[in-house]
């Protein structure tokens, strides 16, 4: 795993892994996420404009919801005339996977005997920024033996990613729905950012003993998305992968 530490981790090491990281270290660690978020957020802003939403509406959604995949789904649902109740239930179902992130992070801290685990003061503040990528980066930092963590670092990495997401949304909405009509290849490349982002994050986290977890997660996703929907598939994949890790060979500390 030593050869696979993400850039986020390296940037976080303004302090060494053994030192308690600070807010600035968290901001530095957010840079790779911000670089990836910004163009995706621009494409979200452009998609919002294409769907007929105003700059204020698109930006408001990014500020308040701050969950990329569900925001794209929200545009499709709301622009397609879905009822408010259906939209809320569908979007919350998609985001329900976030329930598992804080416990997974806290479990890693507990296993690393990091005393920060026992005295959380600002979880209400940093929890807002606990997106898929921020969660994965925090977990990556804690993959280093003896690495420390702090709530200030977590606030920093969350804030940097959040600002990039909101700023990218505003830029995309200002550019408008026809922004990339003249450059369809740019549009296509932006659409492929999410797969490359998740593949990079997976490479940063995965070890040989995790392959049963990955296989179970992908299989669970295929089953859930075939029988129900993509958002259900994500939940099924998470649960299947977690169970495979808990009861299979990957079982111990991650």
């Amino acid at each position: 795993m030593a050869a696979l530490y993400p850039l986020a981790l390296r940037l976080a090491l303004v302090s060494s892994p053994a030192q308690r990281p600070r807010f600035g270290g968290g901001l530095a660690a957010s840079l790779p996420i911000a670089l990836a978020y910004f163009p995706v957020a621009v494409s979200f802003g452009v998609a919002g404009a294409k769907a007929g939403f105003s700059l204020a509406e698109t930006a408001f959604m990014s500020v308040v919801i701050y969950a990329g995949a569900s925001q794209f789904l929200a545009l499709a649902l709301l622009a397609g005339g879905a009822g408010p109740l259906l939209a809320v239930v569908s979007l919350l179902a998609l985001n329900a996977r976030h329930l598992l992130y804080a416990p997974a992070l806290l479990e890693r801290l507990r296993r690393g005997a990091d005393e920060a685990y026992a005295r959380l003061r600002w979880p209400w503040l940093w929890a807002h920024g606990l997106t898929d990528e921020v969660f994965a980066s925090a977990l990556g930092r804690l993959s280093v033996r003896g690495a420390r963590w702090s709530e200030a670092w977590q606030v920093g990495i969350g804030l940097g990613a959040y600002l990039a997401w909101v700023a990218g949304t505003v830029v995309g909405a200002v550019l408008g729905g026809g922004a990339f009509e003249r450059w369809p290849a740019v549009d296509a490349a932006l659409a492929f950012l999410m797969p490359t982002l998740f593949l990079s994050l997976l490479l940063a986290m995965v070890e040989r003993r995790h392959w049963p977890v990955v296989v179970a997660a992908v299989g669970g996703f295929a089953l859930g998305s075939t029988l129900f929907s993509a958002s259900t598939g994500i939940l099924v994949g998470m649960v299947a992968g977690g169970l495979a890790g808990a009861f299979g060979r990957a079982g111990g500390a991650t």
Binding site: L92, A240, G245
Partner: protein, 116 residues
């Protein structure tokens, strides 16, 4: 901005925040006890599982489009994008560079293949 739009955004925003925040209240000794044993082992692996499932979900539209159209050029573009992401990550160990160059490679192959 209509009231309905604001209500949907606020409801989803509050719900998503609570999904992220409420589990942190499991911290401390009670949470520690709860997270030992099978639950702890489950949670220790769910992060990797989440990212793998999200990757599958992100790739699904590209796979489906290639399958439906039978056009191997779009599948090739996706494969090149993923291969470049993998290669750059192994080379530079960086998430951002691998992400951006992988997407760029996809866009270039997409353009060269005349998919526009």
């Amino acid at each position: 901005m209509t009231l309905g739009y604001v209500a949907v955004c606020v409801a989803v925003g509050i719900g998503t925040y609570l999904f992220r925040y409420l589990p942190t209240r499991l911290g401390g000794s009670a949470g520690g006890r709860a997270m030992r044993g099978p639950l702890g082992a489950f949670l220790a692996n769910v992060g990797v599982a989440a990212v793998a499932a999200l990757l599958a979900a992100a790739l699904e539209p590209f796979v489906e489009a290639a399958w439906r159209s039978g056009d191997l050029r779009s599948a090739s573009a996706a494969l090149v994008g993923l291969a470049v992401t993998f290669g750059v990550f192994r080379w530079r160990k960086g998430v951002a560079l691998a992400t951006l160059l992988g997407a760029l490679a996809y866009g270039v192959v997409w353009w060269l293949a005349g998919l526009g």
